[in-house]
Amino acid sequence: LVARFFFYIPVFVKHLLAISLLLLSPLCFASVEQRTLATLAKHHVWLKLLNYEDALLESAQSAVTSPEFFISPDGRHDPLLEMQATIRAFTSATSGSGDEHPGCRFPARWIWLSEQLPQLFAGLGPAHCPRYLEWTGNNTVESISVIFATGFLGNPASYYGHTMLKLNFTTGVGASGLLDSSLNYGAIVPNDENMLRYIYKGVTGGYEGGFSQIGFYFHNHNYGDNELRDLWEYRLNLRRAEVNFVLAHAWEVLGKKYDYYFFRRNCAFRMAKLLEIAGDLDLVPAYRPWTIPQAHVQMIAQTARNGQPLVSDVLYHPSRQSRFYGRYSNLNDFEKQLLARLISKTVNFEGNGYTSLPTANRKRVLDALMDYWQFVGSPWPKASEEIRQQHAMALKQRFKEPGGSNSQPLSSPGDPAIARAPSYVGLGAGFGAGSQNGLRVRIRPAYYDALDASNGHVPNASLTMGELWLANYGSRTTIERFDLVSIDSVAPGVSGLPGDSPHLWGLRLSAEQRVRGCTSCLTPKLHGSIGRKWNPASSVFVGAELSGNAQSSKSSDGMIQFGARASVIMTPVHGAGIRLLAERRYFASSKRKNSTLTSVEGRLELTRNHDLRVAFVRDPDAKLSREWRLMTGYYW
C-alpha cells in the first residue's frame, strides 16, 4: 500500500500541474477550440481514428456502431463534438492510472492529439494502463504482418480468401511466430444459421462485425489443419512509432461493433483501414463495390515508401494438405507403395514389409502417414472414429521410432501477392455468319477461370462471381450469359490414395441464351456436374464429367437437360494454355435434338495483367453455329 501511495505521487503532481496549466495558460481549452479544433476535427487522421466513412445515402459517419467508442453522445456523427469531448476527458481525468482512464481507452487518440496540441498536453504524462500494457506484451510488439488465407470452398464467405493481422513480439516470446498475437475481423453469425439467410444478410449488411484477438497458433491451426488453407505472411516495414500507433488504434476498436458487408466493408477492408492509420498508406482498391483480400495483399506488396518496399519479408505457412503433398512427393516409389499398403491394411507395423525398412525410411513413411490421416479426416473435430484410430496407431508407432525427422523442406507455391489482379475485363471481336460479327465484351469482378488460375488459385479450376458476357450482332447488343456464381472445383488428388481422389464438381447459377446467337432467349439456369480428372503429364489435365441442368419452365428445351463433358487443358509453358472441350447434351424433357458442342480456346499472358485469347466454338444446333473469337483482356 505504501508503495502504491508513492507510485501515485508523481502522477498526482503531473495532473495537478496540468490542471494548473489549463487554468493559467493563455492557450486554454476554450481558445484552442475556437482557433484550432474546427480544423483539427476535419483532419484525415482524426477522421480515421473515429472510423468516419462516406455513406451512400447520408452524410459521413463513423462505421463503429458501439456507443462506448464515443465520448460525446453525438460523436458518431460529429467529429468536432467528439474531439472536444475527448480533449475534455483527457485533460480533466483525475487519475493517471487505471484501465478506465480515457487515455487507456483511447491510446491512439491520446498519441495524436498530444502531437497536435503539445502545449495543452504538456503537463499530462501518459496514463498507466495495465491491461493495454499486458496486451502489447509490455511494449514488445516489434512489427506487424498481414496474413492472407487462400480461398476455401467450404464457405461462400471464404471463396476469395481472408486477411488478418499478426502482431509480432520480440524474439524470445514467440520465435516460431505461433505465440504471436493475431487480430481478426469477421461477422457475428448465430450458430446453425441458414445458408441462404447467411448470404442475404452478409451481402446486405444484416450482421454486426468486429475485431477479435487470439494467439496466432489458433488461426494457424484452424485455417491450415481444419480448412486446409495455406497462409501467407507479409511482414510490414513500419517504423516502431507507426507500429505503436496502429496497435493503439487496434486497442480502441477491439471488441467494438460495425455493420458487416461481405462485398466491400469486409475483413480485407477493415484490415486495410486499420493499417492505413500508420499514415501515407492507401491499401484498399478504390472505386469498386467490393474488396477482394488478394487485391489487398497485392496492393501491400506493391507499396513502397521512401524508396523501401512496405513488405520486408514473406513467409509461407503450408496447410495440412500442402504438407502432406510435400511429404508424399518426397517419398521414393517403394515408400509410396508401403504408405498405400499401410492405409489399405494389406501390411501392418509388425509385417516384414515395414520392419525390414531402415529407420530413416520408416520415419518418412510414418510422418507422411500421420499427415495423410489428418488430411482425409479434416476437419478433425468431425473425423470418423476409424480415421482417428488409424491416426492414433501411426502416432503410437512414431513414438517407437527415434526422434528427429529427415524430411526434405517443403517448397512453397507462387506468392499470391505477386499474381495478376483478381478482376478481369475483356474486349474483342466475334466472327460468325455475316450478321453475327461484332464486338464481344467480358466483365468478371472475380476471380479466375480454367486458363488463368494464378498464384493462390487452384490450377485448372474456375471460380467466378458476377461474370457478364455481352455480344453485339450487327445492330443488336445482347447479354450472352451472366454467371451469378460459377464454380468448377478440382481436387488435386496428388496421391490418388483413398480420400484423396482427383474428383471434379461444378455448380453454376446463371442466365444464358438458350440457343447461341439468340438475342431474346435469356433463360435462368442451374447447372451441376461431377466427374474426375487425370494428369498424364504435369502440364496436361484431362477431365470427364456428367452434368445436369435445370432451367426455367418457359424454355422450349424443357426444364431438365443432361450432359457428358470431356476437357483437356494443356499448359506447356508458364502463361500459355489451351483448352479443348466437347460436351454432349441430352434434352430430356423436350423434342429438341441432342447435340454436341465443341470448342477450343487458347490464352497467352502478355504481361502480368494483360492477356490475349483466341477461341473457336462449334454448336451445330445453334443460330450461331460457328464462331471465332479474338479477345484481349486486362486484369484490375
Binding site: A157, G215, L395
Partner: protein, 163 residues
C-alpha cells in the same frame, strides 16, 4: 457461474479425469483442465461452429481466463499452456513424436523453458506423451481428457525449466 456449474458437473462425471487430477505429481502446478475448471469453458462445440463460419468474437484465452481463473492456483501461464494444447493438439502431439517442430518449441516456451533448456524438456516430454498415446483406448478418449494428460506431461517436463 454457469460455466463453473457445467465444469463441476463434467468433472464429477469424469471419474478418470478427477482421479488423474488427484494423482498429479507432487510439486507440479495446478492443471487448468481440472483445477481451474477450464475444461467446460474451452471444450464447447460452439467455438468450432463459430470458427467454421469465419466468425470469431470474444473467444479464446481472454474470455476463458476471466471466466475461470483463480489467481491463487491458476496463473496466466498455465492457462495459456492449456489453451495452446487444446487448440493445436494434433500438431503438437505429432511434433512431440518426431521430437521437433514449432508447436513443440512454443508449448515449452510457454511453460517457461529457455532455448538452452528446450532439448532436455522436449526429450522428457516425448517420453511422457509416448506413454499417453500408447494407452489402450487412446483414440476414443474425449478431447478434454487427452489434453489434460498432455498438459500434465508438459507441466512435469517443464519442471527442469523452472528450477
Amino acid at each position: 457461474m454457469k460455466k463453473f456449474l457445467i465444469a463441476a458437473t463434467l468433472l464429477m462425471a469424469g471419474n478418470t479425469l478427477t482421479a488423474m487430477a488427484s494423482d498429479k505429481v507432487a510439486g507440479a502446478g495446478p492443471n487448468p483442465y481440472s483445477d481451474c475448471g477450464i475444461g467446460a469453458a474451452l471444450f464447447t462445440d460452439t467455438k468450432w461452429a463459430a470458427v467454421t463460419s469465419n466468425v470469431i468474437w470474444d473467444i479464446g484465452t481472454t474470455a476463458v481466463t476471466s471466466a475461470t481463473m483463480s489467481p491463487q492456483t491458476c496463473n496466466g501461464k498455465s492457462m495459456k499452456v492449456a489453451a495452446f494444447i487444446k487448440d493445436t493438439y494434433e500438431q503438437l502431439v505429432e511434433e512431440t513424436a518426431t521430437g521437433e517442430g514449432a508447436h513443440l518449441t512454443a508449448v515449452l516456451q510457454l511453460a517457461g523453458c529457455s532455448a538452452a533448456q528446450l532439448p532436455q524438456a522436449a526429450s522428457t516430454l516425448r517420453d511422457a506423451v509416448g506413454v499417453v498415446v500408447s494407452q489402450d483406448g487412446y483414440s476414443a478418449m474425449p478431447s478434454m481428457e487427452k489434453a489434460f494428460q498432455v498438459y500434465s506431461a508438459v507441466d512435469q517436463s517443464a519442471t527442469v525449466c523452472n528450477i
